[in-house]
């Protein structure tokens, strides 16, 4: 049982770290602000959620796990809101999105 618990925790934490790393790479690699916001809001949120649930599984049934659940709910609610606030402010600011270097052919 304890071995299974540790294995699940390790897998969750490793995948969370992987997604956070991918989120960081995406923030640097994507071409403009709005697409970077995609990386920051989705991939980072998923990474943090996976990592925290891995920690909660590692802790087992205790008060720390309950607090970690609280942090999970908080992050899942607030991280998209924060990035949405930034993106909305950028839109009202007048920041133009990047539409890709495509030629002028009409799709569909």
């Amino acid at each position: 049982m304890s071995f299974l618990q540790d294995a699940v925790a390790v897998i969750l934490m490793l995948s969370g770290t992987f997604f956070m790393l991918v989120g960081s790479i995406g923030i640097c690699r994507l071409p403009d602000f709005y697409t970077r916001t995609h990386a920051a809001s989705k991939v980072d949120t998923l990474g943090i959620l996976l990592f925290l649930s891995g920690l909660a599984v590692f802790e087992g049934f205790s008060q720390s796990a309950a607090k970690l659940l609280l942090i999970i709910v908080f992050v899942a609610l607030t991280n998209p809101v924060a990035t949405h606030a930034l993106a909305r402010r950028a839109l009202l600011f007048g920041l133009k999105p990047w539409y890709g270097h495509k030629d002028e052919k009409e799709e569909r």
Binding site: F33, I48, L52, L55, L68, F74
Partner: protein, 90 residues
């Protein structure tokens, strides 16, 4: 298990250092803010990992919860702050 946590902390610190490139070299101020928010989220997890390494997770969870709240409030406040366009010429 400790070796695993320390190596995980190393990978996480790499993931924490990458957005500083965006903070340093963002074309607009929003890119810098986005990078700062991403750094904040990863700092939260790295604090929890240190709590696990030092066996004081109950204390570090409270710090991390406060850090998450501060990160959220800071991003919202900064997003409120940049209201006017840089050039008022329409």
């Amino acid at each position: 298990m400790d070796i695993f946590f320390v190596s995980l902390a190393l990978v996480l610190s790499i993931a924490l250092l990458i957005p500083f490139y965006r903070v340093y070299k963002g074309p607009t101020v929003f890119d810098r803010l986005l990078g700062a928010a991403a750094v904040g989220g990863k700092t939260m997890t790295i604090i929890l990992l240190f709590g696990l390494i030092y066996d004081r997770l109950d204390m570090f969870i409270d710090i991390s919860l406060g850090y998450a709240i501060l990160n959220f409030v800071g991003v919202i406040a900064m997003a409120k702050y940049f209201r006017s366009p840089p050039r008022s010429s329409k």
